[in-house]
């Protein structure tokens, strides 16, 4: 029997977050701390220390059936041969994950298995991520999974050990914030543009201490891929997690995936999932609303994801900043980025393009980039790094790889690659990269590298024109 999510509550309308939280309480302490049960736990090749700590303490993995691993951060994306990893420390991470999985009984999608990929792409793709669950991973972009209507958040390495040992975590209940996108999004506007517009509004720390629920007609129209992109960058707005209520789009996406329920279990799950959306009249600690039709293709110009502007804008002038701290911050960011105030964003030349990462490496992202690349030529080095082996295969079955290759793009294997550069795939100092990843921090894509965050369509447009271009004109053409 599926229990109503709010069955333990007798006190009126609840948010989706509240319903999922309550359902996972193991122990509530009087001091406000909760031991929260973790339904599913994702691991990657950066989880080395967490396993090492567990072993050193002589502890076992409590629920290996609830943990799933895949190497993504340290694996190069130009080879599938682990022995080809040059740096011994990197190789230790990738090889170590397989050894740890084998020793503990944790399921692994290893290199050579087409299910391998970026952990936040693999979870939803395999049906491991499901509505109503709690899911954690030792990676800040775990917020991605909330797109399917679950509570998913990133944790540190010690907390990974804790989850391995106890399948639970001590948490203080975050606050809830609703971000409403009111009205339909314009032509060519993607989940990436929406989240960059949100972060520009609330600031990089705007969601700190909150779980963000996205709602409104502008959200409902998004595909699951678009929703995953949106929730992925919740952390860039400071959010503990991001979530979107499940609907028919969600159920269609989940149905038939390997780890999703089937048959009668599916019916029981559906009955529960339909109780998850926030009740009418549920109150949020904070509400923010953006107008959907007003969101334009976004480009970041600085060194924080909050430094984002429509492609039709110009680089801001620090002299006009609200206060001295902001003025200094903007000036420092523009100095690093090598940009002058007042320069139209569409006139900024780009040196390199990276299409990939847990933010934007899914099939829809590749389709949109291919639509722009088709029949055109990349003017600058441009990489496509699919989010998983399965996405790579699907793209090849659809002929997308050929479109990219014909346009001079490099077609690579699945992994985090140049989003974080841990595997050594980085840009050159001073290089300006149009990137579909999630962080434009100083040095994120290599020392001295200047990162501009954009959608896959905008990245492809930059690739074929050599500068930022309002992709809406190219999609219409």
């Amino acid at each position: 029997m599926a229990m109503s999510a709010a069955a333990t509550d007798g006190t009126g309308p609840a948010t989706m977050f509240e319903k999922i939280w309550r359902r996972h309480v193991v122990v509530d302490r009087p001091d406000g701390y909760t031991l929260l049960y973790v339904d599913r736990h994702l691991l990657h090749d950066g989880s080395y220390n967490a396993f090492k700590r567990l072993e050193a303490a002589g502890m076992k993995v409590r629920r290996p059936d609830r943990a799933f691993a895949t190497p993504d951060h340290y694996m190069p994306t130009n080879t599938r041969d682990k022995s080809a990893i040059v740096d011994p420390n990197h190789r230790r991470m990738v090889v170590g994950l397989a050894a740890n999985a084998a020793a503990t009984g944790v399921t692994i999608f290893d290199i050579g298995d087409s299910r391998q990929g970026i952990v936040h792409v693999v979870g939803p793709e395999q049906g491991i991520t499901l509505p109503g669950i709690t899911l954690v991973c030792g990676d800040s972009h775990t917020s991605t999974h909330g797109a399917l209507g679950c509570l998913a958040f990133g944790v540190g390495s010690s907390e990974v050990t804790h989850v391995l040992a106890t399948q639970s975590l001590w948490q203080r209940k975050p606050k809830a914030m609703r971000v409403t996108i009111d009205g339909a999004l314009g032509f060519g506007i993607t989940g990436k543009d929406v989240i960059l517009a949100i972060i520009a509004r609330i600031g990089a720390g705007g969601g700190t201490g909150h779980v963000l629920e996205y709602d409104g007609s502008g959200i409902r129209q998004l595909s699951i891929e678009g929703r995953l992109t949106l929730c992925n960058m919740s952390i860039e707005g400071g959010g503990r997690a991001g979530m979107i209520a499940p609907d028919d789009t969600t159920y269609e996406y989940i149905a038939g995936r390997p780890y999703a329920p089937k048959g009668e279990a599916w019916d029981r799950a559906m009955a529960f999932w339909r109780t998850l959306p926030s009740d009418d009249g549920a109150t949020f600690d904070r509400e923010v609303t953006l107008s959907g039709p007003e969101i334009a293709p976004m480009v970041t110009w600085g060194t924080s994801p909050e430094d984002a502007a429509p492609v039709t804008d110009s680089i801001p002038d620090p002299a006009l900043a609200a206060d001295a701290a902001r003025r200094d911050g903007q000036a420092r960011a523009l100095a690093y980025m090598g940009l002058e105030p007042g320069t139209p964003i569409s006139e900024i030349p780009v040196d390199r393009v990276f299409i990939g990462s847990c933010t934007n490496s899914r099939i829809e992202d590749l389709r949109m980039a291919a639509q722009v690349a088709k029949g055109r030529k990349a003017q600058i080095p441009s990489w496509i790094v699919p989010g998983s082996g399965l996405i790579k295969e699907q793209a090849e079955a659809e002929g997308l790889d050929q479109i990219f290759k014909d346009a001079g793009f490099e077609w690579r294997d699945a992994g985090c690659s140049m989003c974080v550069g841990m595997n050594g795939e980085i840009g050159k100092p001073g290089e300006r990269i149009a990137s579909t990843s999630n962080r434009n921090f100083v040095g994120r894509q290599g020392k001295g590298v200047r990162t501009h965050l954009v959608s896959p369509a905008m990245a492809a447009a930059a690739a074929v024109t050599g500068h930022f271009t309002d992709v809406r004109h190219m999609l219409k053409a």
């Binding site: 029997m1 599926a2 229990m3 996972h24 193991v26 122990v27 302490r29 001091d31 406000g32 031991l35 049960y37 339904d39 599913r40 220390n49 303490a57 002589g58 502890m59 609830r66 420390n89 230790r92 499901l130 669950i133 030792g138 990676d139 800040s140 990133g154 944790v155 540190g156 390495s157 010690s158 907390e159 040992a165 106890t166 399948q167 639970s168 001590w170 975050p174 600031g203 990089a204 720390g205 700190t208 201490g209 400071g238 329920p261 029981r268 799950a269 529960f272 924080s304 909050e306 701290a325 911050g329 974080v420 550069g421 841990m422 100092p429 962080r439 921090f441 100083v442 040095g443 020392k447």
Partner: protein, 208 residues
């Protein structure tokens, strides 16, 4: 279950030390320790704290970066601006700070994951109002050798002119820091609760 006696953390109660100020908002954990050092053994990460802000391309210390000032030697308190240590969940951001002697971080706000990671490593993140941080930074600019006292039990930060500011902390986290107990040993005492939860939950959601 074996291993319930896990590593004890060094208890934290009271600290009097000098402080270093990182005077800019949104300092992300990529700045605290760049990704290229994360695969190194912990002991080799120590020298890479704030690496790219701290050192020039030729490896020489960058003049003007607070950690390169002579007064930074021995500092155990770091004062920062809003949204300190946002971004990546890398726990190395805490451990590299701890291994460089820092036990207390004071800022108007922290990245949530960094905040949690601090408590896993015996470090204390303190949130103070922006105006108070501004005053502390101004004071520190005039007197970089000023000693600050952090008293966890009393929940106060006291400056050299005897100004005192109280701070909030979850009593759960406070007790863990004061006793140096780690989460896992506490949780293992709740093993029967976890097992009972699992029986309950699996009856309701048998598809997981």
């Amino acid at each position: 279950m074996s291993g319930s006696e896990t590593t004890k953390l060094i208890p934290f109660d009271r600290l009097t030390a000098t402080a270093v100020a990182i005077d800019r908002p949104n300092v992300d954990t990529d700045q605290i320790i760049p990704a290229r050092y994360l695969a190194l053994p912990r002991e080799e990460q120590v020298s890479h704290l704030f690496h790219d802000l701290r050192y020039r391309d030729d490896g020489a210390p960058r003049e003007g970066f607070p950690l390169n000032e002579p007064t930074a030697a021995g500092a155990q308190i770091l004062i920062a601006e809003r949204n300190f240590a946002c971004g990546s969940s890398r726990e190395h951001a805490v451990t590299v700070l701890v291994d460089n002697g820092f036990r207390v971080f004071i800022a108007p706000s922290f990245g949530d994951i960094f905040n949690n990671n601090c408590f896993q490593n015996g470090a204390l993140p303190i949130r103070l109002p922006e105006e108070r941080i501004r005053e502390m930074l101004d004071h520190l600019a005039r007197r970089p050798d000023a000693r600050i006292t952090v008293d966890l039990d009393a929940q106060t930060v006291t400056g050299p002119d005897n100004w005192t500011q109280s701070f909030e902390i979850d009593s759960f986290r406070k007790q863990c820091l004061l006793t140096g107990s780690d989460d896992i040993s506490l949780t293992l005492r709740h093993e029967p609760d976890i097992a009972a939860y699992e029986r309950r939950a699996e009856a309701h959601a048998d598809w997981l």
